[in-house]
């Protein structure tokens, strides 16, 4: 390969370093109005009455709308493709504006004014009376007999799911050793630097047009159509530059509301720009989970029988429903594929609570799973005095394993990732060095492995489209529905097209922005799927362009089709340059007898889902008296198949590792007993700053997956999955104290070290 595998600079880099990249709030709009939301101050209840008269009378206010004005039907918000199976469709459980309020921040009314300040002042002038219900914040409370239902008829269960490979009781007869443990993880938030924002207007063709910072323009078009109760084709979605998403923009959280505003105001343009505080509370979060593990191990160190029970706290609305909790369960199975005769029985329940709504977030249930599973594996290895690395290698998934959803493993470099990590972190040498430590400052080594899918097949459709048009100088536009949100996908797609057609990278210009009136179909940026699923469509379109170029060259330059090749922008025949692509392109546009401009417009429906693998290795120092962890060395090693662009790939790994470190040590959305979020800002939330972040190392074990367009597998989300467990295991290694609840804060450490006798009460004072 000549273009794939090289570190080309990102296509949108120039726009971004010069400040010319226009994000949704940077686009000038004539006559723009501004909307602000009146939100619920209570976590569970009903609005008995609302008074908007003062807001309506405020000069500059153009409209005030409440739940009384909004459509009465409910709609779903999850960024999943539409399912033709009614049982698999997302749960439609919310209205655009609500009188039945289910979390602090729920949308009740909206004020639209000439500027943001006036809109905000209008919101302040609204008053309402409420009937309050008990606030349910834990699975125990929400699932208790007789608990008030957050959504009528649900018993507060969003969904449940079970995986049964073998039978636990039967398989457990082989086990000699039995283990049980509970792990908990907190609510965290994506903290994309760009807050959620959108504006809407009715365009010259009477379409409701929404310009939004979204990962999923096509799916959001459908959701807006559903929410307004109009034909989906009457909605147009435009996606400009997006300032980070991490899954929070794989949900339609404000597009339906802003579309409703413009609809009520005869098509006048209205902007709804969330504050940082609104982004924390009223977009999406990562699910808090309680996870229970039960494991039977044979004398040979084989996992014979496993149970995994998961309670996922979803918050007030279903969003992605049960699917994230289900992914938590499948992640364990994919990492340690049960061997013949062994059992894996998992069950998970997703629960409604009166908290901010959980949805997709980088890793989609896998960071939770791997924290629990890889901490548990570490504890078992220690208890059985097995080498933790050898214990894992004995049990990891093998080539040819078939997942519960029928996906066969056709490439796996997990063992090699683990062995490479062991070498890079100098595991054996440092283990010996750190043995028998005493004193306040201690070093520890930890590791954790993961498995991660590439896309959502066969649970959901994966279809993607691509269009390539050759210009009269041989350069080409590539259009895809796949969304660039910072990960570098556009650059990777340009490399793919250039590779397959046989032209330099610079010949391909990827149209970065999606407009559902123009852009070929694409489902969007989620599930680390685009370079795989859209990549297959791009390859197909590029193959068609190449075939058409060869055919046109043969016909017009009197060549044998079978002998023509396209290399580095030249038409070659028998090793000789015949004509440049630029000349051929001009000919194909302008020759008055033969003109036939070359283009391709294709779609592809993938039927695979390759699994990516990897591991985190960490070396850290614990200051016991301060409850302080300093990471000295941290490395992620990834099998993501063929690496398309090493520099961009490393960037993905760094960012994911950083998010994983924050998950391990710092991040947590604090919610009080009344359901109020206490730290909805970037300082109190403890988002890592520059000096908080250690140097991050990325390494790869390249495999080649035959199902993928260029051997590539998922990489966007995987780096986030394993750091937390590796850090927890390294703290255990250093101190012999196990922390089974994230984040591992100084307070938890001081309590844990005191209980373990590492800090005497005198020292603690």
């Amino acid at each position: 390969m000549s273009v794939i595998g090289k570190s080309y600079k990102r296509q949108d880099g120039f726009a971004k370093v010069t400040g010319r990249a226009r994000y949704v709030d940077d686009i000038p709009v004539n006559g723009l109005l501004h909307a602000k939301v009146f939100r619920s101050p209570i976590a569970n209840g009903r609005v008995l009455s609302i008074d908007t008269a003062a807001a309506k009378a405020l000069p500059g206010v153009v409209g005030v709308f409440t739940y009384e004005d909004a459509p009465t039907h409910s709609f779903p918000t999850a960024g999943h493709p539409w399912s033709l199976d009614v049982h698999h469709q997302d749960i439609a459980d919310r209205r655009i504006l609500n009188d039945r309020v289910r979390y602090v921040g729920d949308e009740i009314a909206v004020v639209i004014a000439k500027d943001e300040y006036t809109a905000e002042r209008g919101v302040d002038l609204i008053t309402a009376e409420y009937e309050e219900y008990p606030v349910l914040l834990t699975p125990e409370a929400a699932l208790a007999d007789g608990a008030a239902e957050i959504h009528a008829g649900t018993k507060n269960v969003v969904g449940s799911f079970a995986i049964n490979i073998g039978e636990f009781a039967e398989a457990d007869k082989q086990s000699k050793h039995h283990f049980q443990a509970k792990f908990t993880v907190p609510v965290v938030q994506h903290c994309a630097m760009e807050n959620h924002s959108a504006y809407a207007y009715i365009d010259e063709n009477s379409k409701i047009t929404v310009v939004s910072s979204t990962q999923i323009p096509y799916i959001t078009r459908r959701i807006v159509g559903q929410a307004l109760g109009i034909a989906w084709g009457k909605v147009r979605l435009i996606k400009p530059f997006v300032g980070g998403g991490f899954g929070s923009k794989q949900d339609s959280v404000l597009e339906a509301l802003v579309a409703f505003c413009t609809q009520k105001l005869c098509g006048r343009p209205v902007r709804l720009q969330f504050t940082r505080e609104e982004t924390f509370v009223s977009t999406r979060t990562r699910h808090a989970m309680n996870m229970y593990l039960e494991t039977g191990v044979t004398d040979d160190g084989i996992l014979a029988a496993r149970k995994f029970d998961v309670h996922a706290l979803n918050g007030a609305y279903a969003s992605h429903g049960q699917s994230i909790c289900s992914k938590t369960m499948t992640t364990y199975a994919m990492l340690y594929g049960p061997k013949t005769g062994c059992a894996y029985n998992a069950k998970g329940t997703t629960v409604y609570t009166n908290m901010p709504v959980a949805g997709a977030m980088r890793g989609y249930g896998a960071p939770q799973a791997v924290f629990a599973v890889e901490s548990h594996m570490e504890d078992i290895a220690r208890e059985l005095q097995l080498d933790p690395i050898e214990f894992r290698l004995k049990n990891i998934t093998e080539l040819g394993w078939v997942s519960p959803t029928g996906i066969k493993v056709r490439s796996i470099g997990l063992k090699e990732c683990i062995l490479k990590g062991r070498e890079l972190i100098k595991w054996d040498e440092r283990k010996a060095q750190y043995a028998n430590q005493s004193g306040n400052i201690r070093r520890g080594l930890g590791m954790a492995a993961f498995a991660y899918a590439t896309g959502v097949f066969p649970i959901s459709v994966e279809v993607e489209a691509a269009r390539i048009m050759m210009n009269d100088d041989g350069s080409m536009q590539l259009q895809i529905g796949a969304t660039e949100i910072g990960q570098g996908s556009d650059t990777a797609f340009a490399q793919m097209a250039a590779e397959t057609i046989g032209v330099p990278f610079e010949y391909i210009y990827v149209v970065s922005h999606q407009d559902t009136d123009v852009t070929p179909l694409g489902l969007g940026s989620y599930a680390s799927r685009q370079s795989y699923s859209t990549g297959l469509a791009v390859r197909k379109a590029a193959e068609e362009i190449r075939a058409k170029v060869i055919k046109y060259a043969a016909a017009n330059w009197n060549l044998q089709e079978g002998e023509v090749d396209v290399v580095d922008g030249w038409i070659m025949s028998n090793g000789k340059q015949i004509v440049s692509l630029a000349e051929l392109a001009l000919h194909s546009h302008c020759n008055n007898k033969t003109a036939a401009p070359i283009s391709a417009d294709v779609s592809h429906n993938p039927d695979g889902n390759p699994t990516a693998y990897g591991a985190t290795f960490v070396d850290l120092e614990v200051d016991i008296a301060l409850g302080k962890v300093t990471i000295k060395d941290i490395i992620n090693i990834h099998d993501s198949g063929k690496i398309l662009n090493p520099q961009l790939a490393e960037g993905q790994v760094h960012g994911g590792m950083s998010m994983g470190i924050g998950y391990a040590l710092y991040e947590q959305l604090l919610i009080d007993a009344k359901g109020h979020v206490l730290n909805e800002n970037l300082l109190d939330y403890k988002l890592m700053t520059f000096p908080d972040t250690p140097d991050l190392k990325a390494s790869f074990v390249e495999t080649y997956d035959p199902a993928a367009p260029y051997g590539n597998k998922s990489l966007g989300e995987p780096p986030t999955v394993s750091p937390a467990a590796a850090i927890r295991n390294a703290i255990l290694d250093a101190t012999n104290v196990a922390f089974n609840s994230l984040p591992i804060t100084p307070q938890k450490m001081i309590e844990g070290f005191t209980a373990a006798g590492l800090i005497t009460p005198k020292e603690a004072n």
Binding site: S7, K9, R10, D12, G13, F14, A15, K16, V17, T18, G19, R20, A21, R22, Y23, D25, D26, P28, H190, C191, A192, M193, E194, N195, F241, V242, G243, G244, F246, T275, R276, I485, G486, Q487, G488, Q647, L648, E650, G651, H654, G655, G656, M657, S658, M659, N681, L682, L683, L687, T689, F690, P691, T693, D695, L696
Partner: protein
């Protein structure tokens, strides 16, 4: 209440009436239409709105517009000319320090102030100096590399006679 202020923005002198409650960020984005400077939090936490005021990096979201009277303001738009990028911009591009790009203008402005300070910075110094700019995409890794490279390039380019154009 409005007040007249006069200042230079990217080398050009401007006079305008601003509401005394307006932040410099609002004036830069909404009045001067320089949207390269971003609004990330509005309360001085994230640094996406960083501009240079008399050569020093400030969060423009918590800098009142009236304070800008008589000052020299620089935003990301003034750092490149056509296709020509500054040393810092080039380093960010080459080192893969850009992902979603939303924090990028702020980081570039803060780093630019470092390159023009004439001081030397260790990698730990760089991390501390850039502590006021947050990024969720990169883990700061390639940003540290880019800042190191920009500082090195600026030093090699001018040495002690720094032209102040980085």
């Amino acid at each position: 209440m409005e007040q007249k202020i006069t200042f230079t923005i990217n080398g050009e002198e401007k006079s305008l009436y601003v509401d005394i409650r307006e932040s410099l960020l609002e004036v830069v984005r909404d009045r001067l239409e320089l949207t390269g400077t971003k609004h990330g939090c509005g309360v001085g936490e994230c640094g996406a709105c960083t501009v240079l005021i008399n050569g020093e990096a400030f969060d423009s979201c918590i800098y009142m517009a009236v304070w800008a009277d008589g000052k020299d303001i620089r935003t990301i738009e003034g750092e490149s000319c056509g296709e020509k990028l500054s040393v810092v911009q080039t380093a960010f591009l080459e080192e893969g320090a850009v992902q979603c790009g939303f924090c990028t203008p702020g980081f570039i402005m803060t780093t630019t102030a470092l390159t023009e300070s004439g001081r030397e910075f260790s990698r730990d110094d760089i991390k501390r100096e850039l502590a006021g700019n947050m990024c969720r995409c990169t883990g700061y890794q390639n940003i540290a590399n880019a800042a190191e490279k920009a500082l090195q390039t600026a030093k090699e380019c001018c040495g002690e006679n720094c032209c102040g154009k980085h």
